[in-house]
Symmetry: C2
Subunit: 155 residues, 2 copies
């Protein structure tokens, strides 16, 4: 499917993968720490970590030679998922956190507890679903964006 949302889901569209990435953003790097936090079987954790390394989201970095031990760190591609994790966190905070946000985000530069706000790259206005329209891009294919008539939006 020619769709960047689907491409992203191909890499991290699985509960455990995204929770591993979430924990990596919280500073977790070692197998045993991921395992303790996620309560996941070693077998499945190994599979998901391998999948994330194969897709260049995490990289293995040796931290001990004798015995050989490595830890997992986010790559640039992995760090770029911060926006996705942040978006999910803020949605959960808003709609599914009756006791208040479990985790808050502090902006190092200004020192405040903040939320991340989406703004337009051109004019700087705040964005939401109703402020934008989707249009076919250069990578659009016949069987993707255009397959279904979308012109029913007035009905």
């Amino acid at each position: 499917m020619t769709c960047s949302v689907a491409q992203c889901l191909d890499v991290v569209g699985e509960w455990w993968s995204l929770l591993i990435v979430r924990d990596a953003f919280l500073g977790v790097t070692r197998f045993d720490d991921f395992q303790a936090r996620l309560g996941i079987s070693r077998n499945i954790l190994t599979q998901r970590l391998n999948h994330l390394v194969d897709n260049d989201v995490l990289k293995r970095v040796a931290y001990c030679d004798h015995p050989p031990r490595s830890e997992y760190r986010l790559t640039a591609k992995g760090r770029d998922l911060w926006h996705v994790v942040m978006a999910m966190r803020q949605w959960g905070d808003r709609w599914a956190a009756p006791g208040g946000p479990p985790v808050q985000t502090k902006h190092t530069a200004c020192g405040h507890v903040i939320t991340a706000v989406l703004v337009c790259s051109h004019c700087g206005e705040t964005l939401d679903a109703r402020a934008v329209t989707a249009i076919p891009g250069p990578g659009a294919s016949e069987d993707g964006f255009d397959r279904t008539p979308l012109a029913r939006s007035g009905t």
Copy 2:
């Protein structure tokens, strides 16, 4: 698990659910149109639509009385997932769209093809993973955020 990322995944952490929400943002409302676009079995589509309605992400709206027919529209809670879908789309555009973005986003107010930029709600600076620190919030629990020592970030 006390974590807003996990709460979000509980509702939409499944390939089809998020692709249904993506299509809803593109203006798709009817069962047959979702089915044609996603190439998904009617059985699974029914399950996923019911799950999204049960979780107040989509609502059923009657559009015909004889015969009875309804369509699916995003609720306020569902529309608030736009940030998540947009974050995934931009990540896919950047890391997995060799032919260019299949879909582009036009900001209605300024008329430009844009990207959504994350900025700090307090100071307005652009944000990324390295600009922020996670701290426990009011909803934090012992077995959540604090369970694993996170102070290894200097090692």
